[in-house]
Amino acid sequence: MPDTVVNLVDSPALGVLIGIAGVMAALTVNVLFLVWLERKVSAWIQRRMGPTEVGPFGMLQTIADMLKLISKQLITPRHVDKPLYHIAPVFVFVPVVAAASLFPFDEHVSLQNLDIGLVLVFAFGGLGIVGIFMAGWGSNNKYALLGAMRAVAQNISYEIPLILSTLSVVLMVNAMGDANTNGMNLAQVASMQHDKGFWFVLVQPVAAVIYFIAALAETNRAPFDIPEAESELVAGFHTEYSGMRFALFFFAEYSNMFIVAMVATVLFFGGWSGPLLPGAMWFFLKTYAIVFVMIWIRWTFPRLRFDQLMSFCWLVLIPLSILNLLVTAFIARAV
């Protein structure tokens, strides 16, 4: 069992506290970097300059933005459902931090090494939608409500292919390992790829593609950003939010992107495994490469229509992922 931060400190309670603080700090820095990256990449794709003024290459621009958001007045519209409106950003924010603390960053470095790691990541991932719903309903605004309804329908539908595609990897890991192998333990999936010497994307290309498409939809990224389609819905479910409350939604959105990229790294791209560089470096390089592809796609493809989005999920992705799972199960049984 790899050393976890929780085991390193004598008291488990203290270990958990340090871990949570560390994850929150890392996620915050990460979000600041991702927002800068998104702006720079979009500018590059559209032949603009992007942020240039604050700091080298405009890198401090997002820090300035964050300071602005922190110092802004928190405006609560008069007609909102107060309890829901206030809790919603927290409900979106907390599951993200919980899910981010479950990943193996290196062979021996992870905050928590759980046998049900993969299940928990999706459990927390599915929870964010409750917060989005609260925000949309509590705002008492037709655009926010419409955005929330779209988000709920989309997330519930795309969760199915997302989980089914990862299950085929779990099956494969269990078939390849010995009796003690557990395919839902993220650290074991990564080290299995290290030991076998190949990435699972090579044996499970269909699952990897389905996972990536479903992950784009799950994080509400273009071309699936229908819940916050700004040309139709102002800003979707967070229309009525401003200041730090809005920042929390933003934080959760970019962190979610990072989390689905981390899951993809562990399941399909070998996790920390790689030559020369230390493991954690490889882990983050791969994760940022996947995030970069997500940004690239956002600024390249137009937005889908809602019925196209739903029929694509139910008529193409779900049958395909079930078929992939069945074939994997038969092969795993035969080997």
């Binding site: 309890p83 829901l84 759980l114 046998d115 049900i116 299940v119 928990l120 999706f122 459990a123 927390f124 991932g125 599915g126 929870l127 939608i129 409750v130 719903f133 609260m134 309903w137 409500l145 309804m149 709920v152 329908a153 997330n155 519930i156 969760e159 557990n182 839902m184």
Partner: protein
């Protein structure tokens, strides 16, 4: 009292309190608030599962109930778009009194059960077999020891799904 028992009482109290909020939301009938309170109550129950070393059950409880089923509930409530008039006025009738009495009897019964659970949590480490609560153990139970009831439940769910489609969509 051990730390785990303190946790148990906190979780148990939270679960009961939020369950009461489901049926008696503050400020009159509010189906959305009730559904959200039920989600929070599922969390407390998941916490109790963790204390009972059923980690997989806890994760599935959050994923399936709080993350999927309740979200569908919310979606349906949102689509129904109930007005205050349709929800009906509050009234205290004989049946409600009867219901309250039944609840009280059940609650007293439940307290006895809850105390037994709190006791069990402090003794759990002795009683558990190796690998209890893992994915493998749960799968063995479901797909080996209790395969027939499990498949029966699956068929029942399938019938319910087809029934719902037939009822909702008269012209296929």
């Amino acid at each position: 009292m051990e730390l785990e028992q303190i946790f148990f009482w906190l979780l148990a109290f939270g679960a009961v309190f939020t369950s009461v909020l489901v049926v008696l939301p503050p400020g009159g009938k509010n189906p959305i608030f009730g559904a959200l309170a039920l989600i929070v109550s599922f969390f407390f129950v998941a916490g109790i599962y963790v204390l009972l070393v059923a980690h997989l059950m806890a994760a599935l409880q959050i994923m399936v109930y709080a993350g999927a089923i309740m979200v569908l509930f919310l979606f349906v409530i949102m689509l129904l778009n109930l007005s205050r008039r349709e929800l009906g006025e509050e009234s205290k009738t004989f049946t409600q009194g009867l219901g309250a009495t039944a609840m009280l009897v059940i609650a007293i019964k439940a307290i006895v059960l809850v105390e037994a659970t709190a006791d069990g949590i402090s003794k759990r480490d002795m009683a558990l077999s190796d690998g209890f609560g893992t994915v493998e153990a749960v799968a063995n139970m479901l797909f080996h020891d209790y395969l027939f009831p499990f498949e029966l439940a699956a068929v029942l769910l399938l019938v319910a799904i087809i029934g719902a489609v037939v009822l909702a969509k008269r012209t296929l």
